[in-house]
């Protein structure tokens, strides 16, 4: 099963390497990893999606927690969470197909961020299902490039992760 781990980490050189190295060392395959500044100065928030049974994920979570630069880490899979991912998708278009692609993009409330004579670049945010559905439809026109951020996640409601733990 896919688990979503969210970690608050110190924003120092090498921290991403420490986290990634730990996953490798304990034989876990990272599905996606996304990291950026958090609300607290000097700390970044990292979202890691990883596959495995609960016992093994708990083991890796505890190992992550032992890293000095990891301030907090939790497995929020079972909690009420909001997850999002952003993708940029370049689709082949011709004068004949362009308007159809635009219609699909509209239905998904996605945006067109670049237009060229023979392609459109689409920006879409949402959960993985939404991204996959849109991709599925666009593939029919010919997708030449995709860049995805990987999942980011927050728990719903007022309390921040930092205060809860």
């Amino acid at each position: 099963m896919k688990h979503t781990l969210v970690a608050l980490v110190e924003n120092k050189p090498g921290v991403l390497n420490r986290v990634a190295s730990l996953f490798r060392r304990r034989a876990f395959n990272i599905e996606s990893i996304a990291v950026g500044h958090s609300e607290q100065p000097g700390l970044s928030r990292m979202t890691v999606v990883v596959n495995g049974d609960s016992a093994r994920i708990e083991q890796v979570r505890k190992q992550l927690d032992k890293l000095i630069n990891v301030v907090r880490v939790s497995d929020i899979t079972a909690e009420d969470i909001v997850t999002r991912e952003l993708a940029l998708i370049k689709v082949k278009t011709t004068t004949a197909t362009r308007s159809e692609v635009i219609q699909i993009v509209d239905i998904f409330r996605a945006n067109i961020v670049d237009v060229a004579p023979d392609s459109l670049t689409v920006e879409v945010t949402g959960d993985e299902n939404k991204l996959e559905s849109l991709l599925e439809l666009l593939r029919g026109f010919g997708v030449t490039e995709i860049n995805r951020t990987g999942r980011i996640a927050l728990t719903r409601g007022g309390t921040a992760q930092a205060n809860r733990l």
Partner: protein, 564 residues
């Protein structure tokens, strides 16, 4: 006041109690070493190989309960430390490894003797640092000692570029260590402790498994109180051996692959296990699926990640062994367990540790036994890895706390000599016996030079079986005696010692054993004895790899043994 990075490092080491350090200099450390004469309180011990520096720091740390420091230059010096750092990591030994690094402008350029030592040691250190600003150095050293010595101890590496050593910065007093991502739980959760005590009070066949965590937290008295009050037998892992007196009636010895038969039987028949400061290493548990099949398992460890890692646990208690046992002792009821102890005593009588020979051949167990007799157990024993390590674990009666120093988790041949050296530096008043394998001894033999130069009175007993004995035993048992490349051509070890100005004797028969050990003890300096023992003596009992701890192979009866 302005100080150089080198001065800051020296003063920080003094402040943190790291006055003694083992190392070898090189280009990237010249500024630091040039500063050493300004600090006569510091004692640098020049070793012959950086692996020796790391093992010495490890041995020093284990006998002093504080961090040991080792130091190496950039590139090959740093990589030579790696085995020693990994060894300390596996056995939770607090060492501080300081490495020189090329100057900052050269980092990332594949400069001469540049190596990414923080990258290399990432998975084998508790934490590591690359210091890029001399103003950060004092805080870094303070944090490093704090991290290494607290919680579950472990190695911390500080990589120090040459120009940072030379950089002059304002040296300010430091506040407290502030590490938001570093926490450890010392006190066990009271609800968990209560739950555990409730079950212990009701248990009929309880067993305590003592690990190195007891030694690290110095919970000897607490362990003894628990065992005595509730009348619970104690077994131990290899590294837990000197956590409970060897001559105590409740001590049933070491468990595991070469554990005593009755120790393993105790675990396999227990209805409750209190595993304290141990991590269910596979050499201790054998097949984990069949480990202690009838037992409810209480696991006390300071590292939450150890809970449930190898064995499912019924009642986990995260905390420092000393605190947790103390809390348990307050609530534990007096117990008797007469039937259980009678049963264990019977197994102890029925399955004694026996040696193969009856004649006058020189057997390794006898040698170890005699070292015990002559020292009266008043010695720190440091071993390498292999058969001699197991014999040292089995045949010496460890009555003193923390008197066995051995490479457990990594199983590093060559640990013995430098670790003994470090132990002697850490406890100069104590007798230190290095029980060496003839194979392992040759992996770090050059430290005889350090021992001679520093006049360290380490007593060395080489258990010379002419083989990489433990591997030979596996070839005998599992590869139909095909001894591929386990036979050793050995030099004359006594002559080697003499070349280092260390006296020695070769011992080939039983009668020579006692006088030789006595001579070594009487001699005021380092002394080496080359015990030429039976080459094909095996270590028994043995639980074969993959088997359950219940399937104990004991020594065949003499007639079978002599037919070999």
């Amino acid at each position: 006041m302005k100080k150089t990075g080198s001065q800051i490092l020296c003063e920080s080491l003094i402040k943190e109690g790291g006055e003694v350090f083992f190392g070898i200099l090189g280009g990237a450390l010249l500024p630091l070493y040039d500063t050493l004469p300004q600090y006569p309180q510091l004692r640098h011990i020049l070793v012959r190989h950086e692996q020796g520096a790391a093992h010495a720091a490890d041995g020093y740390a284990r006998v002093t309960h504080k961090a040991g420091v080792c130091i190496a230059t950039s590139g090959p010096g740093a990589t030579n430390l790696v085995t020693g750092i990994a060894n300390a990591y596996m056995d939770s030994s607090p060492i501080i490894a300081i490495t020189g690094q090329v100057a900052r402008p050269f980092i990332g350029k594949d400069a001469f003797q540049e190596t990414d030592i923080t990258g290399i040691t990432l998975p084998i250190t508790k934490h590591n640092y690359l210091v890029t600003d001399a103003a950060e150095l004092a805080r870094t050293v303070k944090e490093a000692f704090y991290i290494a010595q607290t919680g579950r101890p472990g190695p911390v590496l500080i990589d120090l570029p040459k120009d940072v050593q030379q950089e002059e910065v304002e040296f300010a007093e430091l506040g407290e260590v502030d590490l938001p991502g570093y926490r450890f739980v010392s006190r066990g959760h009271s609800v968990q402790i209560k739950k555990a005590v409730g079950r212990i009070n009701k248990a009929e066949r309880p067993v305590i498994i003592a690990g190195r965590g007891i030694v690290i937290s110095q919970a000897y008295n607490e362990l003894k109180e628990l065992a005595e009050k509730a009348q619970i037998p104690v077994v131990s892992t290899l590294l837990g051996i000197s956590s409970f007196p060897g001559d105590h009636i409740l001590n049933f010895g070491m468990i595991g692959m070469h554990g005593l038969a009755y120790a393993n039987m105790a675990v396999q028949n227990a209805d409750l296990i209190i595993a304290t400061g141990m991590r269910f290493d596979d050499r201790a548990t054998a097949n984990t699926k069949q480990f202690a099949p009838q037992a409810l398992i209480i696991h006390v460890d300071i590292d939450p990640a150890e809970i449930g890692k190898n064995i499912p646990v019924d009642i986990p208690i995260v905390g420092d062994a000393k605190n947790v046992l103390k809390a348990m002792n307050k609530q534990i009821e007096r117990g008797e367990h007469l039937d259980w102890l009678t049963q264990l005593d019977q197994w102890r009588r029925e399955h004694p540790l026996v040696e193969s020979g009856q004649g006058d051949e020189l057997l390794p167990g006898y040698v170890i036994h005699q070292i015990h007799e002559i020292t009266q157990g008043d010695s720190i024993i440091v071993t390498g890895v292999g058969q001699h390590q197991m014999w040292a674990a089995q045949h010496f009666l460890y009555t003193r706390p923390n008197s066995l120093i051995s490479s457990g988790g990594l199983g590093t041949m060559g640990f013995e000599l430098p670790a003994a050296m470090g132990a002697k530096v850490g406890q100069p008043e104590e007798t230190v016996w290095c029980i060496a394998g003839d194979g392992g001894f040759q992996m770090t033999v050059q430290e005889l030079g350090t021992i001679a130069q520093e006049h360290l009175a380490v007593k060395i007993a080489i258990i010379n079986n002419g083989y990489l004995g433990m591997v030979r035993q596996w070839q005998e048992f599992f590869y139909e005696r095909r001894y591929v490349d386990t036979k050793l051509w050995n030099p004359d070890f006594v002559k080697i010692a003499e070349a280092y100005d260390i006296p020695g004797i070769k011992v080939k028969s039983r009668e020579e054993v006692t006088p030789a050990i006595q001579k070594a003890m009487d001699y005021p300096g380092p002394f080496l004895i080359d015990f030429v023992v039976e080459p094909e003596e095996n270590v028994y009992p043995m639980v074969q790899p993959g088997e359950s701890l219940s399937r104990i192979l004991e020594r065949p009866k003499p007639e079978m043994a002599s037919s070999r």
